[in-house]
Symmetry: C2
Subunit: 247 residues, 2 copies
Amino acid sequence: MSTAPEGYDPHAFVPFAVTVDLAVFTVREGRLHVLLVERGEAPYEGHWALPGGFVLPRESAEEAARRELAEETGLTRRSSRAFHLEQLRTYSDPDRDPRMRVVSVAYAALVPDLPEPRGGGDAARARWWETGRTGPLAFDHDRILSDAHDRIGARLEYTCLATAFCPAEFTLGDLQQVYETVWGVELDRPNFRRKVLTTPGFVQAAEGPPRRTGGRGKPAALYRAGAATALHPPLLRPEGRREGRTP
Amino acid sequence: MSTAPEGYDPHAFVPFAVTVDLAVFTVREGRLHVLLVERGEAPYEGHWALPGGFVLPRESAEEAARRELAEETGLTRRSSRAFHLEQLRTYSDPDRDPRMRVVSVAYAALVPDLPEPRGGGDAARARWWETGRTGPLAFDHDRILSDAHDRIGARLEYTCLATAFCPAEFTLGDLQQVYETVWGVELDRPNFRRKVLTTPGFVQAAEGPPRRTGGRGKPAALYRAGAATALHPPLLRPEGRREGRTP
DNA sequence: CTAATAGTGTCTCTCAGACATTATGTC
DNA sequence: GACATAATGTCTGAGAGACACTATTAG
């Protein structure tokens, strides 16, 4: 039993490596995709993994995640600051990395459909993978990815976060597809529209009345993200499997 | 810019200390309390702080939090396993501890009204504080405590977690007081009752029809926690300030 | 009896699910 | 014209807020 529950006994200090891992999600063509990088060295050489890296001596985990996000998406840190990034949870199993004790703070990022990524500087290959079609990932990244998917699914219910997957101007059809893609369900269009438009601050009509075609139907009105962040009352998933099991 | 976004370059390894901090909540006499310990040494000597300690070389943060919870509540690890414990988030500001680089994984624990705690082995003083009446805490613990309070408030809306504050058998009045205490609002008793009883698996009537007095009114029926963990549809707070600000 | 707490019943308004109907574009 | 997608309107049922009322104890 530790005898220093309140102070920080210097003798109890044990060095850990601290990293961040990112689950960067986007919606492309009605399917949820996640950004993965291919590992070029052991362990798990040839496997795909979530992008990530060490937290540097003078930065917070948040800053490290922001930095990695900019590197991996190939954008400037300035433009990538607009992306939604949120801390998921921390993974600390002693054996999660076979080489040493590594504690990883996982983040989820939501980005609009971006150009195909370039690797982060060196020859590392990076690409978008459709979720559910990734092979077994390195380390405990399957678990992290699964947790991240669950989390953003739940966040869509109670927040206005779905707009983070969309470009600056989007149609209500785009927004609905985000929900349908992340949740894996189909929603009723008129009801979805009513819910979004009657929630103050969820979306706002784009100023000029421009319109855009989605193929060959009637052009849709364009909207921008509103100022609201929370969603009250929530937009609940129809039925079926939820985060918390009810055995 | 880091040039090893995918591998773990040994030269990039920087040692961190990793700790856990616990926000242990209970409801006593209609007020929310949190367990704090008094610091006996610099920095923040004499200040109160959340209980916590180092993650040991061969344990996960979850196990460390469980161990600290048992030590601080003065119970066996076995009986303290029944308490609800959930990871909150990780705090990693480089200057959060003036002595060295410490990354802390914060947990929230919900316990029923317990006997007054004894310190964790040595002479450290520990006691329950009413939330909102604590002085400035050590380190960034005010922030952690605030985040923890927000989180459990939100969890009560979507989960059956309120029973974690109650003893094995409790009345619906007890349960309602948990909600009112954590949220700081008053709820309508008939409506609360209806919501709880019509949610399958939230509570179950205690077998024998025993009853208990709460003073000098009609004795109340006793219930136990049910098997459900999620709450659908949710039990939303009346109105007012929420987690996500809507500026 | 009164005071206090537990428990029941009912009305209404909000909101979501279901789905019919109209509008406006491409081919 | 056919077809596809966007947008509007309407009916209904589940559920929450408000609140009147009854039940059972202590004093």
